[in-house]
Symmetry: C2
Subunit: 469 residues, 2 copies
């Protein structure tokens, strides 16, 4: 037995009867739906189905529930903790065909999108409205996936994460019941906060099919630029002071010398290979100028060099595209390698200690690991570049990540700032939230008593999932 569950043949036959060629059992299609961008081994589902409406998702859920077959929501497959792996088989429900932008409330700064819409798609669509959606994980993820992992990204320091930017959801429960949460008012105290229960639930409580997003006005003035520092300590202390002073930077991103080297190669840039901050200021012309001046004073006090401005829109785009490609740029530093990506987030006062101790760890190890981070939130990533054939390198990367997470937890931080728990951090969740695991399990059991929604993710033991039927 490989742990596969339920009457898969019955479920797939019933799906095919209802959805015809929108159900696939082709090995290539199944394989592509059983892996994400992480190191976690692929686990292909038994079938993939492509619904086009919330009502269709509800039919799929009812059918899988009736056959006791696992269901795994799938967006763009850009997750980093094995979220989409069908470790107990079952049906991958690919929501990418649900990619309609249903409504833009220009007067109310909100919009309603289906789960398969991606952030670049939405922002392109909004271009002429003067509005944008600020949350931007590096990948071209879907909004369903961004909700499911509680995504954030470079703008979160100013605009918040998905938690602060979703007004309401349409959710299909594993039973097939359709639930609408939240609303269009900017705030509400009407009953339990179901919206935020599903944000970060990683597909383990239900399918998110529609999302009402808060939008933000495109600022009147934007200026961006970068600044290299003589030392990592100087760069991080400049960030800490910026946050403590309450300077409302829109983005403040750190790349270490290794990450800059990767960007130079991959994005054809010619930057000094030193710890570097990428920044962006939003506001009126006056206030952007003032923010930049104040930041300049901080830089001067911390051994930062001259500020290189990117004022034209195309220069800014080139800068941020390079930043967003830092993951691929990292991989490119060691062709053929695969990546283990870390994701701790610590209280801002501990950021310098956390980064410096971690850099020392890497210096003592044979591995290469560029560092990039949303440092204004205290969140940073290492991208360990690993020879895919070396179990030893993988062990070493895990050992260093374990040390990193222990350090972050001791500092009052979290093992994941934005990627989620998935398959990869279940033991770490137990370390971080030991007292809360029983309650998380009770919620899971109340909503998904059969344990069919994305089994084996988030919760560290499989009590629920191994129940037999």
């Amino acid at each position: 037995m490989d742990g596969r569950r339920g009457n898969v043949f019955g479920a797939v036959a019933a799906l095919q009867a209802q959805f015809g060629d929108r159900v696939s059992v082709l090995p290539d299609i199944c394989a592509a739906h059983g892996r994400d961008l992480s190191l976690h081994p692929a686990s292909p589902p038994d079938a993939v189905v492509f619904p086009e409406t919330t009502e269709e998702v509800a039919r799929i859920a009812r059918l899988c529930s009736a056959h006791h077959v696992p269901m795994i929501p799938f967006g763009a497959g850009t997750s980093l903790e094995g979220h989409v792996a069908a470790v107990r088989g079952g049906v991958s429900v690919d929501l990418s065909a649900m990619n309609r932008i249903l409504d833009v409330g220009q007067q109310d700064l909100d919009c309603l999108v289906e789960a398969g819409v991606t952030r670049q798609q939405l922002n392109a669509y909004l271009r002429d409205t003067g509005l944008f959606f600020p949350v931007d994980p590096g990948a071209e993820a879907t909004f369903g996936g961004m909700c499911a992992t509680g995504a954030s990204g470079t703008n979160a320091v100013r605009y918040g994460t998905m938690r602060e930017n979703v007004l309401g959801l349409t959710v299909v429960l594993p039973s097939g019941e359709i639930v609408r949460t939240g609303g269009r008012a900017r705030k509400s105290s009407a009953g339990y906060d179901l919206t935020r229960l599903f944000i970060g639930s990683e597909g383990t409580l239900g399918f998110i099919t529609e999302i009402r997003l808060r939008l933000t006005g495109i600022p009147e003035s934007i200026s961006a630029g970068l600044c290299a520092f003589e030392s990592m300590e100087g760069a991080v202390n400049a960030v800490i002071l910026t946050i403590q002073m309450g300077l409302p930077v829109a983005r403040i991103e750190l790349l270490d010398e290794k990450a800059i080297q990767g960007c130079n190669l991959y994005s054809h840039l010619d930057l000094d290979e030193k710890p570097t901050l990428f920044l962006e200021f939003h506001g009126t012309e006056q206030s952007v100028k003032e923010q930049a001046e104040r930041f300049g004073e901080i830089v001067a006090d911390h051994g930062g060099g001259a500020f290189t401005w990117a004022t034209r829109e195309e220069d800014r785009n080139r800068l941020w595209t390079a930043r967003h490609n830092a993951f691929y740029a990292g991989l490119n530093l060691r062709p053929g390698s695969k990546a283990l990506t870390t994701d701790v987030c610590v209280p801002i006062s501990r950021l310098a200690a956390c980064i410096l101790e971690t850099k020392a760890d890497i210096g003592d190890s044979p591995l290469i690991a560029p560092l990039v981070g949303h440092v204004g939130d205290g969140n940073f990533h290492l991208v360990f570049l690993i020879d895919p054939d070396s179990a030893e390198e993988e062990r070493e990367a895990h050992r260093l990540n374990d040390r990193l997470v222990e350090r972050a937890l001791a500092m009052g931080g979290t093992c994941t700032g934005e990627h989620g728990i998935g398959l990869g951090k279940k033991d770490l969740l137990a370390k971080e939230h030991g007292s809360a695991l029983g309650l998380m399990r009770a919620l899971k059991k109340a909503i998904d008593p059969q344990g069919l929604m994305n089994p084996d993710k988030i919760l560290p033991d499989n009590t629920l999932e191994t129940a037999t039927f």
Copy 2:
């Protein structure tokens, strides 16, 4: 039978054995714990207990659970929907003795407080740190209560509500289990968002005993003032445009002519009795000036008069004290009256229509109802002043509120922006979130299977609570 439940005598005797004179059954004490600031009839608990630590709250919960006796968390008793009424008897757990400020993380802009700490207490304590906590419901509420109702207030338009300003909680479940949620990192994707499940849960899922709050730097420059308008329509349209333009006002509050009349009498002011906006701008000196100029342009286009500035701190305090006392000032307009307070919140584009139609309703009725509102969020309150001996006036106020809520829901709004559901809005919750009630009930049952935590609040039927033991 009056619906009282469980072995109350056994529970009270056991509590007295453990807590001595920190348990009271005196009628006056019990009566004071069975009512809040609302019209809802008082329902005194059978006893009140005053714990001093989380561990003591856990002991109380275990003991009440063992005796199947209801438990009602109590903070300052300032709620507005009958939240603390012991409608099925039981034990009121008064957390006001848990009022220690345990830790201020000045470097990390956060602090840890016990549930009984009040917002004015905290802000007085923080005075020399350069930090403050922005969420300010009018009442001197406790942080436990503010979490339980998802409170907001005048600053929410800029700084968010309790949902955006709490990093983590210590919670005692009805079983007596102690759970810690969240952490000190500014963001996390580690497991289900339990923090926000308890924010807004109105004491129906557990006791909140400790809260880690995000703090904000006191802005370098603050300016405040007020501006009277010829028409209500002009005042509201000025607000709508301010929000749509993304002007980062820190406060933008509306008082109608009746509310201004109340303030004049109660707070000894001499304001024009016209629809008036109270504003506050936060930022650098430069940016505050710029915000005020831009707002001035909007005012001029909407029939607003001259702006009266309150630049000195004592003038600002006088202004906002008058605003915060608007509820009592309203009551004072009709001595001896009691208040029914409404709380709808609508999408900003519908605010003018919602307010104007509602004012027309009031104009057609014999009742007096000053209007005050956190209009930047689309949230406003009417304070219906009712003769306590007139059932007819109470019926009329309810009829008008029902019409108001129906109007708000039809506009995509909510029946409660910040006060919560309590006893008073259970039917309205069913109207607003019909599809989600089953799920809310499942969560309640998973966490509080005996239905002992603050029974009969939020959920519109009593299926859970009337289970017999």
